[in-house]
Amino acid sequence: MTAPAYDDLAVGDVVAEAAYPISRDSLVRYAGASGDFNPIHYRDDVATSVGLPGVLAHGMLTMGVAVQPVADWAGDPARIVDYQVRFTRPVPVDATDGAELVIVAKVGQLDDGARVARIDLTVSADDLTVLGKAQVRVHLG
């Protein structure tokens, strides 16, 4: 897979945008795949008993989904050398309507020596930002 041309990038460029519908089914699937069976991610009664508005998406599901537009842009997901996020706001997932994660990926910094692009993600649900300092470092050799 062809890598994006490092030399063509400029700080501020939007390199990818995507939206993903997250349903309760998505949460069950992620619970099984990841081994995170915390019931606040599939049982409303448990979620509300600990003071939450209802079932929430796993933070690690949000993190895992948010990087996918960058993995596709990079061509080869193995070009991702570092990925970090802060979990700043939970993502409630309605039993009927689900939720939608909207991701915008922008060049935040260019390290010419290492030829690594830092891609900054804006990740929102219901128009509210849910991740902070979401940064993906992509090595473009």
Binding site: D36, V67, Q68
Partner: protein
């Protein structure tokens, strides 16, 4: 002001390595589908090999599956004092030396980098070094866990 929610002596503690985790091809595919990965290098062996990989490549956040055993060590540490019900995931980072591919046998070692108390809550930075069967570094998974302290008006 409630009790300090975490034993500060956890800071600096190193844990024994976890049992080796064999990364299965179907496990990678299952995880990839769960995080909406569509890149063929995550799913298709021929595409991965054409890109120079030994087998399909795990999505960027897959190391959490291997890291999980180390976080269980931390939460179960007898003198740690961590109440799982009060733990909130604050931040996460993965720093790679090389990608994870199907067939890798991975071991994780946990090191508690820091324990800080802020406004009655504790913040634990837990770093898990993940290495392959040859002992070479693959990825470091770092979690920041916030443990809520006893707060006023808490009915629990």
């Amino acid at each position: 002001m409630g009790r300090v929610p975490v034993n500060p002596e956890l800071q600096g503690r190193e844990f024994p390595p976890t049992a080796p985790y064999l990364v299965g091809r179907e496990k990678i595919r299952e995880f990839a589908r769960a995080v909406f990965a569509r890149n063929p290098i995550n799913l298709d062996v021929d595409a991965a090999r054409a890109a120079g990989h030994a087998d399909i490549v795990a999505p960027a956040t897959f190391p959490v599956v291997v890291q999980e055993a180390t976080l269980a060590q931390l939460l179960n540490e007898p003198d740690g004092g961590i109440d799982f019900g009060r733990v909130v995931h604050g931040a996460q980072q993965f720093s790679y030396t090389r990608p994870i591919v199907a067939g890798d046998e991975l071991t994780a070692r946990l090191h508690v980098r820091s324990v800080k108390t802020l406004a009655g809550n504790a913040m634990i930075t837990a770093e898990s070094q993940i290495t392959d069967a040859a002992g070479e570094h693959v990825v470091t998974a770092t979690s920041t866990l916030v443990v809520r302290g006893d707060d006023e008006g808490d009915s629990e």
